[in-house]
């Protein structure tokens, strides 16, 4: 299975369960003040374009906390599910002041939307999900 396939398989487990349209609303409400969905647009937080499958602390030009840089996390859907529940508890010492999304369904929906922003392997996340589901 290719790297794209692995990501796709993971997405099929979590992101596909979410509603990207509802996730878009959640993104607007919770994430957009600090994060851009566009590539290379860093705000208070790093760009979330292609965040799914990306290594934590790896966006060029963004000044990460040492806690995030040394976390060793790759943002798979499962990692995002755990992280977004309570970010500062999951990775203590990070800069992000967002308290998290306690509702599991909200997190699934948000991750489904994040997956539409592309994957770090260069493919489209939605396509990856579709491909994974065909395999």
């Amino acid at each position: 299975m290719t790297a794209l396939g692995l990501i796709g398989a993971a997405l099929a487990g979590s992101a596909q369960a979410g509603d990207a349209a509802r996730g878009s609303d959640l993104f607007q409400q919770n994430c957009s003040p600090c994060h851009s969905p566009e590539p290379s647009q860093n705000l208070v937080g790093p760009s979330l374009y292609s965040v799914v499958g990306r290594a934590a602390g790896s966006v060029a030009g963004f000044s990460y906390s040492s806690a995030m840089k040394s976390s060793g996390i790759t943002w798979t859907p499962d990692q995002l599910m755990a992280y977004l529940k309570a970010p500062r508890k999951y990775v203590p010492g990070i800069k992000m002041m967002f308290p998290g999304l306690p509702d599991e369904k909200d997190r699934e929906n948000l991750i489904a939307f994040l997956a539409t922003l592309g994957t770090s392997s260069g493919g489209d996340a939605a396509a990856a999900v579709s491909q994974a589901s065909r395999q």
């Binding site: 860093n42 508890k89 203590p92 010492g93 999304l101």
Partner: protein, 469 residues
Amino acid sequence: MPSIYLITATCKLNDRIGTSILADALGAANAAIVTVLLLCIGTLFGRPANALPSYARQTGHPCVKCHVGGFGPQLTPYGVRFKLAAYTETDNKGFKLPVAGFAMTSFTHTEKDQPPPLDEHANDNLTLDQISGFIAGRWFEDVGSFLQVTYNGNTEGLSIDNTDIRVAHDFVIAKTDAILGVSLNNNPTVQDPFNTLYAWGFPYISSAIAFGTGDAGTIFEAGLGGAVWGVSGYAFVDDSILAEIGTYRAFSPAMQIKLGLGAGGDIGRVDDSIYWRLAYTPDMNTQAFEVGLIGFNASIQPERLEGGPVNRYRDIGLDGWYEFLGNGRHNLAAYASYVREDQTRGDLLANKTATNSSGRFYDFRLNASYYYEQTYGITIGRFSKHGTPDALLYSFSASGSPDTAGTILQVDYTPFGKQKSWGRPFANIRVGLQYTIYDTFDGASTNYDGMGRNASDNNTLFLFLWAAI
């Protein structure tokens, strides 16, 4: 020298005197007038500050990110954390000059003309209340400030105003997130990140030439602001528990003059002061709350005499708030505080400005705001002050009682400050109408001054315009 309480008692009076009479007062070196001047510091210091556009420019956030209603000073949970992190969050787009300014003008009408000494207008005064400049924002990675310099249109003076310079860093202790910081500030409670206590509590704006919340108050309202400097260390642990401890000393009289506070601004020597704070405030994203305790102890020797008698103040308070932020369309915020103060009046007694050697004062505040679309706001607040009577200390009252209670209603309109607002982050305006109804003033609802004036005669209509850039 008269007491801190007299300072507070007469300060309102001074506000109403007007500049020319104030100048005369400056020329007269008697204790009563010095008291008046001290009073001036007590109530004019710490005028409100709103959402500062320099923070918005620094972070890229709209005002509503940190402030309920998009103007301030009511902080959202995010704003609380921004402050505790030393105002340093940035959008990483280069250095932003941390400067901002605002101006406030207002119209004040009281139910009956104000008692003498009168301003040039006994009623219906249009005033330029203040023009402030700020150094507010990130200096370095872990250092930031809220530093305000104010031109007061009522006294025509320029002075240092609320100041809070912070150093803070995020640590991980036992796998738990902890912000550890230090605040250098000049007004007890100005460093507090919540809107329940004196520096940042409701009313966030009020007439400088009317009656406020009465002629007496706790030590927090009695002239410490600006006349003291203090250092406190704090820890914000697990994104929910705040613990702080600090101490204050008075600036020397010479330094107070340099800071623009005037020759009569000295409250005396402040010793043995301890300020402490404990609070629990979890952020649940769409809603948040806080419950907390505050304490302050201080000894004040007004004449700065070595070995002279001192007035001791011991304050302890409870506070709490709840905010519902939801999706931003409907915002609800409610705040409450209760402070009890024990006083031991050594210097007051020695100077025959108090009858009793000790006394107690209670201060209760409760208010709630609703904002629609973070634009249209309505707030109702209740204040109630009660103290043990003292014929000399509270001589402004015919009954010797400082008790004052009332209700404040406010409606306001904040057209900008949202994500897609025109002119963001430079255009920031709030227009509001506030009405204060007094049930009791200086110990009585009728004839409180022995000259026939009733509490309701002080009911105040206050129309204000607040603009920040």
